[in-house]
Symmetry: C2
Subunit: 141 residues, 2 copies
């Protein structure tokens, strides 16, 4: 099993197909952007994947942005294949993103997680994340 | 009173000083990044300001990012000078950012707001934002 950052030139059509299938486990109704577009269009998104003998079994992304209140990272789209859960892969993916956050000298790393996702929330807390007393609001187009 | 997008070449030292003072109203303890850095480093942040006869009286920012789940905008650092509140300036700043979201063809616009900020939350809801059943988690460095 290997955890690694993925760069644009490593995105093959096979990997894209595997990604599409894996993200369906996160949300079957999601209209997905291509990973190549996410990685290249702004060049500010990091992606970490977990491969097991050529099979994609987990992924997590972090988009970096700068505003006056800081240089921040937003973690999104974290998913581990259902057959591979409970093996610490989510933690390893997150740890790799947090290494990137440190090397990019981010001030804050943010994420949002559904209140019912108790396993994920324990993981995030054990990595140093704290619940903010704020609501997350979304406007969809 | 004028509401306008601001670009990097319009950032003067006078505007930067006014911004620094205005953001202290949002959070006096905040270590602020320069507006020039926020606008230029990734080139994905939009800033809208409100000027009244040469005086900066409001600002709002939106950082755009792409991940597999969509092309998104995160609204941050919205502040209107205390003397100018209750005049609809916050709404005009937000409307300008949402025009940018539409022209950038964003899928989602996100923001987080403290549960106690009831006036801001009514404004966001009236602009089409909905509370997500998710907690916002933050890790600070």
């Amino acid at each position: 099993m290997e955890i690694k950052l993925i760069t644009l030139n490593e995105v093959t059509s096979d990997l894209q197909s595997q990604l599409t299938e894996l993200y369906k486990q996160l949300n079957a109704d999601l209209t997905q952007l291509d990973i190549a577009s996410a990685l290249s269009d702004y060049n500010t998104t990091e992606a970490v994947i977990c491969m097991d003998e050529g099979k994609l079994v987990g992924i997590a992304m972090m988009a970096k942005y700068k505003v006056v209140s800081g240089h921040k990272g937003m973690i999104e789209d974290v998913v581990v294949s259902s057959d591979y859960r409970g093996q610490g892969i989510g933690r390893k993916l997150m740890e790799k993103l947090l290494e990137q956050a440190e090397s990019s000298k981010l001030d804050d790393v943010l994420l949002f997680s559904g209140h019912h996702r108790t396993a994920a929330i324990s993981l995030y807390k054990s990595l140093g994340f704290k619940l903010k007393e704020s609501g997350m609001y979304i406007k969809k187009y």
